[in-house]
């Protein structure tokens, strides 16, 4: 029969058209993969905040660019004092929210003003911290500095 569908000649047994995929090896593979991934899974998402310390004989700090101005943030238990070059801003009193975290809204606004004045090249900031400040508050302030465009954070103690 030319040009038509082959309907068979009626001889011999008809082959079934449905193909059955054997799913057992696939399920085995899945089970092994799931077991491996569960055993090697890391459930706690941990990151890092890179800081450089003041003083010591660690890595040499890069040479200071003449275009940038020293920006210093003094962190105490009571307030935050931002100093840009020789000018000092009004202290920001520390206000805590319900979770006992420092509210840094005013600091963020001040950082925006500083970035507008100094430009995007200003990336370095020094966080001078008093001895009694909690580590959590320090990390919170460093995180805010990085988020507001100061990724090169140095942590230094308050010079007495």
């Amino acid at each position: 029969m030319a040009g038509g569908m082959d309907l068979g000649d009626g001889k011999g047994p008809k082959k079934p058209l449905d193909a059955t995929i054997n799913l057992v090896p696939f399920i085995d593979l899945m089970a092994v993969t799931i077991s491996f991934l569960i055993m090697t899974a890391v459930w706690t998402q941990i990151g890092r905040l890179q800081v450089s310390g003041g003083g010591g004989d660690g890595d040499p700090t890069p040479e200071k660019d003449d275009k940038t101005v020293p920006v210093t943030l003094l962190l105490s238990e009571k307030d935050l004092r931002l100093t840009v070059g020789t000018s000092t801003f009004d202290p920001i009193p520390i206000v805590r929210d319900a979770k006992q975290q420092i509210d840094l809204t005013r600091l963020t606004e001040r950082f925006k003003d500083v970035k507008e004045k100094l430009g995007p090249d200003q990336t370095a900031i020094t966080v001078q911290t008093e001895d009694a400040v909690r580590y959590e508050d320090l990390v919170h302030v460093i995180d805010e500095c990085i988020g507001d465009g100061f990724p090169s954070v140095s942590v230094a103690p308050v010079s007495t």
Partner: protein
């Protein structure tokens, strides 16, 4: 009397019962087909979820109940480096306690001599290994500080000075990765 297969034999009254006897239900096939499609679907979803969460670096930090990490949003991936653990009681490096926090509050040193010494030893070992391997990579001096969130800065400061004295100038604070919520509040992935 004919031999019958062992099993329960009910009386005449119950022989034609659908429940107990050989009523209509007894003619149903006892083979039940399991639907594999939902099972395979579930497996695929689980595998995709686990692969999305997969971390090639593995567990760098040893999480303990004594140390509750602070939360931060703008963080980078943690590097494989020596870990200094600071709990409320002890300062531990690579599993060995080097100082007690209570003792540190009493003296007026700038550094922690035992920690500094340990770091110097570690730096020397690392540099010797790199020299033996002749891989040409410079010592980066990276160290991870895993500190409890309630530790005062006077302890952190001494640890940092010790790190720099021991030749580890690239200091990383280990933090829990948080996400900024719609109201600006930060939430950690795990407490």
């Amino acid at each position: 009397m004919a031999i019958e297969t062992p099993g329960k034999r009910f009386g005449k009254r119950l022989r034609k019962s659908k429940v107990f006897g050989h009523g209509h239900a007894a003619h149903k096939s006892t083979n039940a087909d399991l639907l594999i499609t939902p099972l395979v679907d579930m497996f695929v979803i689980i595998v995709l979820f686990l692969i999305a969460n997969f971390s090639a670096t593995g567990e760098i930090l040893n999480m303990t109940k004594d140390i509750q990490l602070p939360t931060a949003t703008h963080v980078d991936e943690l590097e494989l480096a020596p870990v200094i653990m600071i709990s409320n009681d002890d300062i531990i490096i690579n599993g060995a306690a080097v100082a007690r926090v209570a003792d540190l509050s009493r003296d007026d040193y700038v550094t922690i001599p035992a920690l500094e010494e340990k770091l110097r030893e570690q730096k020397k070992e690392t540099e010797e290994l790199h020299a033996l391997a002749n891989d040409g990579t410079a010592f980066k001096g990276v160290v991870n500080i895993q500190g409890n969130k309630d530790i005062p800065f006077r302890i952190i400061k001494r640890v940092m000075f010790s790190c720099q004295g021991g030749g580890y100038g690239n200091i990383n604070f280990a933090v829990l990765r948080g996400s900024t919520g719609p109201g600006g509040e930060k939430t950690a992935s795990l407490p």
